[in-house]
């Protein structure tokens, strides 16, 4: 656990905490949606600083974590081909499929490379016309504009030896799936700052009104998170349910129009499977028909791969905020960041991995 004095804005944090204590009368359960926020909360002990009966539960907001096992297995099958240069963001390399991870596939001789930008794949494709360059296009709405630009430019430039293995998920349908669950305990949401930097927050206004739940679009620093909590609690105590924007310095209601336009040209909304959760209708992007020539799943005929999750893991319930990492019998013994059994242990933005990394191996009486 961190102490307030270690915060760069300790005075501001203290003021926010005091105000939270003054405003709060009843116990509340809030969820931070984004994995970057989860990481920050656990690292800085934000939840331990809050009054005991304000509980923060961790959401499904880590695209690495929710990429389904079968898609990782498809990635491995494609990467193992001799004619393929398989490119990925660094975060996917250690994520285990049913048999191993991409690093292991690489050590067996596959050409697997980490890229900084999806556009790097165009450079590679031009440099190696005899090879098929495949990019693992994962992410939330934040990453979709970058991945869309790769496909758009490949088509414009007539580069035919590029394709994308798409696993794009969307935040609003995940929030709806959480709220629709009979086990839902979440009463207010800290919304995802950078997703909304791209998308704006109009979609969230509709969800907030329909479910009568406050949603406060929040940044990633400890003081952002404290302010997000304060704004959410204030709404709850006053019986309000609307969208507010804490992260004004990066987010507008309309979002980034240029990015939204290109995403809509390349992708359309469709059903996606979430690791640990299962299929959620209209919860992700797939390539539009006119770009289907760039779909790696079609190009490499991996449709038959269908993998099941290990049954001991409760990551689905952790992702939905129903249970906490400590509630899992495998947490910290059979399941660690080195040998993850499921979604929430595979990246430092997953709740289980964050708990493990920052020394929360035991259940404590504070903060759940």
């Amino acid at each position: 656990m961190k102490y307030l004095d270690e915060y760069r804005d300790a005075d501001l944090a203290r003021r926010l905490l005091k105000e939270i204590q003054q405003v709060q009368r009843r116990p509340w359960v809030l969820m931070e949606v984004c994995g970057g926020q989860t990481h920050s909360i656990v690292k800085y002990g934000v939840d331990d600083l809050l009054p005991r009966d304000i509980e923060l539960v961790h959401g499904p907001g880590c695209p690495v974590c929710v990429t389904p096992l079968e898609l990782i297995d498809k990635a491995h099958a494609i990467a193992a081909r001799r004619d393929v240069i398989f490119c990925s963001f660094g975060d996917m390399l250690r994520v285990p499929g049913s048999e191993c991870d991409l690093l292991t596939v690489k050590s067996r001789g596959a050409d697997v490379r980490v890229v900084y930008s999806p556009l790097d794949c165009l450079k590679l494709a031009r440099k190696h016309p005899e090879k098929q360059v495949v990019f693992f296009a994962i992410g939330f709405e934040t990453t979709a504009p970058a991945n869309a630009m790769l496909v758009w430019r490949a088509k414009q430039e007539g580069i035919r030896n590029v394709s994308v293995l798409v696993s794009h998920v969307l935040v609003p349908p995940a929030i709806e799936a959480i709220l629709d669950s009979p086990w839902n305990r979440v009463q207010g949401f800290l919304g995802p700052g950078h997703v909304c930097a791209i998308m704006g927050y109009r979609e969230y206004e509709e969800i907030s009104a329909r479910y009568k739940v406050p949603i406060v679009i929040t940044g990633f620093e400890p003081v952002d998170l404290l302010e997000g909590v304060l704004m959410t609690i204030r709404q709850l105590e006053e019986g309000q349910a609307r969208v507010e924007n804490q992260y004004v310095r990066a987010v507008t209601r309309e979002g980034n129009q240029a990015a939204q336009e290109l995403v809509a040209k390349v992708f359309e909304v469709g059903e996606r499977k979430w690791r640990g959760v299962g299929p959620i209708p209209n919860s992700g992007y797939r390539l539009r028909e006119e770009f289907s020539g760039f779909d790696a799943e079609r190009r490499f005929d991996v449709a038959a791969i269908d993998t099941q999750e290990p049954s001991v893991c409760i990551s689905g319930e952790v992702l939905r905020g129903v249970r906490k990492p400590h509630d899992c019998p495998a947490f910290g013994n059979d399941c660690t960041p080195e040998h993850p059994l499921g979604a929430t242990m595979v990246s430092s933005e997953g709740a289980c991995a964050a708990y493990y990394l920052y020394g929360r191996r035991q259940k404590t009486t504070v903060g759940g």
Binding site: R8, G35, R108, S117, T142, I198, A250
Partner: protein, 99 residues
Amino acid sequence: MCLGIPGQVVLLENAGGLRMGKVRFGGIVRDACLEYVPEVAEGDYVIVHAGFAISRVDEQEAARTYQLLEEMGQLAELDQADVDVEPGGNDSAGSKPDG
């Protein structure tokens, strides 16, 4: 995954009709695509995610956030391999299955 790293645009470039730029993060300069921030000029600060500027941000804000990310050990993506480097560590002893 959805973290953005703030940096300063030090040079605007045109790469075959694509608005690109050199962006400085601390001591590192990297290419970033500026298509989604058409209003940005040299000297401006932007938040970069996956090699793309996603929004403008002011200078003070950029400095603060950069320090915080450094503290959190969240700057790894800036050191990611340049694809012009041929892959190492390929001990091709085993034959590759055709998948």
